[in-house]
Amino acid sequence: MTVAATFEIEYLQYLGPDGTLVAELPPQAPSAADILPLFKQMLLVRTFDAKAIALQRTGKLGTYAACLGHEATHVGIGASMRPEDVFAPSYREYGAQFMRGVKPRDVLMYWGGDERGNDFSGPKHDFPWCVPIATQCLHAAGAALAFKLRGEDRVAVTCCGDGGSSKTDTYAAINSAGAYALPFIQCIINNGWAISVPRKAQTGAKTLAQKGLAGGLHCLQVDGNDLFAVLEGMRRAMERARSGGGGSVIEFMTYRLHDHTTADDARRYRDEAEVKDGWTRDPMTRLRTWLTAQGVWDEAQEKAWIEECGQMVDVEINAYLESKVQPVEAMFDYLYADPPADLLAQRAAAIALEKRS
C-alpha cells in the first residue's frame, strides 16, 4: 500500500481533574508563583460572570453569554498573547480580554445594548465581539496576512466554538492561514454544545483539532480545563507563529457549565447528569487544589480575594449602570467618516423628533 500522507494529533494534559499532575509539567511551565495571578484572574472572571448573570436576571442587562467553566481556556489564551498581537474573539472570551485590558464595564455595555462597549479599553487594534459565528476567524486571518505583508512580529489569535468549527468561515481562515503560512492561531473552544446541538452532531470528525489538517496547519488538542495544558499549547503555537512556522489549530476541551446564554434554557435538551459530570472537571477546583498543595494558596486568601473581586466588579457594574444612553444622533455619527448629506438630514430630523417628544 502506498501512503500519500499520515497525521498524528497530540493531546496535552498535565493537571488532572483531581488537582494532581497526570504528566510531568513541560520545561516552560510557569512556576506556582507565576500561575497564581492567572488563577486569581480566573476567580475574578468567575465572579464577574456570576454577577453579570444576576444583572440580567434582574432586568438590568440584555442577553448575556456566560463563560462559566471556560476560565482556564480563556485566561490561558489571554496570558499567552502580547499587547501588539491581535485578538479576534467570539462573544464569550472575557477572560482572555480582561488580560488584554478590556474592562468588565465594556462587556456590560455591549450586552447592555450600547455600542460603546466595543470601543473598549483593550488594545485599540483588537477586534470587537463578533456575533455572526466564526466570521471573526477570517478577520484574524486577514490581520495575520497584514502582519506578514508588513513584516510585523505579531500574531493573530481567534476563537470559535465547537459549533463554530462547522462554519465555513473557520475553514476559510484555516485554509488561508495555511496557504499564506500566516502567524495565526485558531482556538476551537469545544465546550460540548452549540446552544442545543451537541458536539457529536456537528461533524463526523473524531477531533475538532483535525479541522486544521484541511489547511495543512499544525493541530493540537488540549485539556481546556487544565491551565498548564492551555498555556503549553498556546506557547507552542505562538512560537511556531513567531518563527515563521505558520498557523495552528488548537482544540480546547472544556465544558459549558451554564446555559448557552441567559436567553437559553439548557434543561430542554441537556441532562442534568451531564452537567454534574462537567463540574467534576471544573478548571478552578483542580488548580485550587494544586496551588494549595504547592503552599501558595489557602482558603483565607481565596476568601479575601473573592471579596476583592466582588468589589472590583461592583465598581464596574456601577459604571455601567450609571452610563447615560447615547443621544439619538449616535446612530448616525459613526456610520461614515464623511457622512452624506441625506444622512445628516435624517440625523437632524431624528434630533428634532427627540426634542419634540
Binding site: 440584555g62 450600547d114 456575533v131 459549533g163 462547522s166 446552544i195 446541538v197 439619538v328 449616535a330 444622512l343
Partner: protein, 335 residues
C-alpha cells in the same frame, strides 16, 4: 406542545404558535416536508417555532444542522431539487447572508436553468426585524436582499391567521419562498386560527381597514403601529385605509393602486432603511402608474439609512405611531 397536538380544541394562538401549527399541519399532510436548521430539533428552535415537532415527527423530519448557514442553504436547495419540500430556518435575519448564494444562484434558478427539469420547492423561514432588545445582528429588516431577485417569493405575515395561511401556501408553492417572520409580534396577541389546512393566496395584499383619505401601506411588525396610527388619525377625522402587503414579491400592486385611486394619498411604512428599501418600489409604481390619482406626494416612514442600533436606542430607529401620523397628516395637508 398543544400547537402540534392533532385534535386539540381550537384555541387562540400567537403568531409563532400559528407558524408551528402550519408546520405541523403540512408535515402531517405531506411526507416530503422536512424542517431543518440550527436548534430546530429537541430544542424546538430558539423562538420555539418548531416546538414539539421533533417529538411528533422525529429526527428524520426535524433536522438539526451543523452550525453553518451555507450548509443549511445548500442542503436545502439540494434536497428540494430531489423531491423534498424542506423548510429551512435561519436563526435570525442577521445570519441569512451566507445563505444568499445558494438561494439566489440556485434556489431561484433551478427551474429556469433547467427549463423546468428541476425545481426548488423550498421555504426559508427568517425571523425578521427589530424591537426585541436582542443582541447585534438579531434585528435586521433585510427583505430588500431578496426583492430584486427573480424567481423568489418574499412573504411577510403580520397576524397569526395570516402567518398560518401564508406559511401553508409557502410550503405548497412549487418555487422558493422567503418567509420572513416579524419576531417583534411573535407573541403580541392571540387569535383563533382553526387548524383547517386552508392556505391564503401568495399574490394578494390584505386590506386591513377601509378608509378614504389616505392609504397606509406596510408589512410585518409595523402593521401594529400602522393600525394604531390609523386609530389616531381617525380621532382627528382622517380616514386611513391600511394595507398589509404580506407578499412583497411578486407584488399585488393592483390592490394598492385601487386604494390610492380612492384616497389620493399614500404613506408607506417599513422598518428597513429608507434608501432602496422595498417601499421605494411601491412609491415608484405609484409615480409610474398612479400619478394622476395622487393628491399629495408619496411619503415613506422607514428606518433611517443607518444600521439599527443596539437595543438601548433601537426603538428610536423604528417607525413609530407618531412618525406615521405626522406623515399621513402631511399628505392630507398637501392636497
Amino acid at each position: 406542545m398543544s400547537a402540534v397536538a392533532k385534535d386539540a380544541a381550537p384555541a387562540a394562538i400567537t403568531l409563532i404558535e400559528a407558524i408551528t401549527q402550519a408546520l405541523a399541519y403540512e408535515m402531517r399532510a405531506d411526507d416530503s416536508v422536512v424542517v431543518l436548521g440550527e436548534d430546530v430539533g429537541v430544542n424546538g428552535g430558539v423562538f420555539r417555532a418548531t416546538a414539539g415537532l421533533h417529538a411528533e415527527f422525529g429526527s428524520q423530519r426535524v433536522i438539526d444542522t451543523p452550525l453553518d448557514e451555507t450548509t443549511i442553504a445548500g442542503l436545502t436547495v439540494g434536497m428540494a431539487a430531489q423531491g423534498m419540500k424542506p423548510v429551512a430556518e435561519a436563526q435570525f435575519d442577521g445570519f441569512v447572508y451566507p445563505m444568499l448564494d445558494h438561494v439566489i444562484c440556485h434556489g431561484a434558478r433551478f427551474r429556469y436553468r433547467t427549463r423546468g427539469r428541476l425545481s426548488c420547492p423550498m421555504v426559508l423561514r427568517v425571523p425578521w426585524g427589530g424591537g426585541i432588545r436582542a443582541p447585534e445582528h438579531h434585528s435586521e429588516a433585510n427583505e430588500a436582499l431578496f426583492t430584486n431577485v427573480p424567481g423568489l417569493r418574499v412573504v411577510l405575515p403580520s397576524s397569526p391567521a395570516r402567518a398560518y395561511g401564508l406559511l401553508l401556501a409557502a410550503i405548497r408553492e412549487p418555487d422558493p419562498v422567503i418567509f420572513m417572520e416579524p419576531k417583534r409580534i411573535y407573541r403580541q396577541y392571540k387569535e383563533l386560527v382553526p387548524d383547517d389546512g386552508e392556505a391564503l393566496p401568495l399574490d394578494v395584499c390584505f386590506v386591513l381597514r377601509d378608509g378614504t383619505d389616505v392609504t397606509l401601506v406596510t408589512w410585518g411588525a409595523q402593521v401594529k403601529e400602522t393600525l394604531e396610527a390609523a386609530d389616531a388619525l381617525a380621532k382627528d377625522g382622517i380616514s386611513a385605509e391600511v394595507i398589509d402587503v404580506a407578499t412583497l414579491t411578486p407584488l399585488d400592486f393592483d390592490t394598492i393602486a385601487e386604494s390610492v385611486a380612492k384616497t389620493g394619498r399614500c404613506v408607506i411604512v417599513h422598518e428597513a432603511p429608507k434608501t432602496a428599501g422595498f417601499g421605494g418600489e411601491i412609491a415608484a409604481r405609484l409615480a409610474e402608474e398612479c400619478m394622476y390619482d395622487l393628491l399629495a406626494p408619496v411619503e415613506r416612514v422607514t428606518g433611517y439609512d443607518t444600521h439599527i442600533p443596539l437595543f438601548r436606542l433601537e426603538m428610536k430607529y423604528l417607525p413609530s405611531v407618531e412618525k406615521i401620523v405626522a406623515a399621513a397628516k402631511r399628505t392630507v395637508a398637501a392636497g
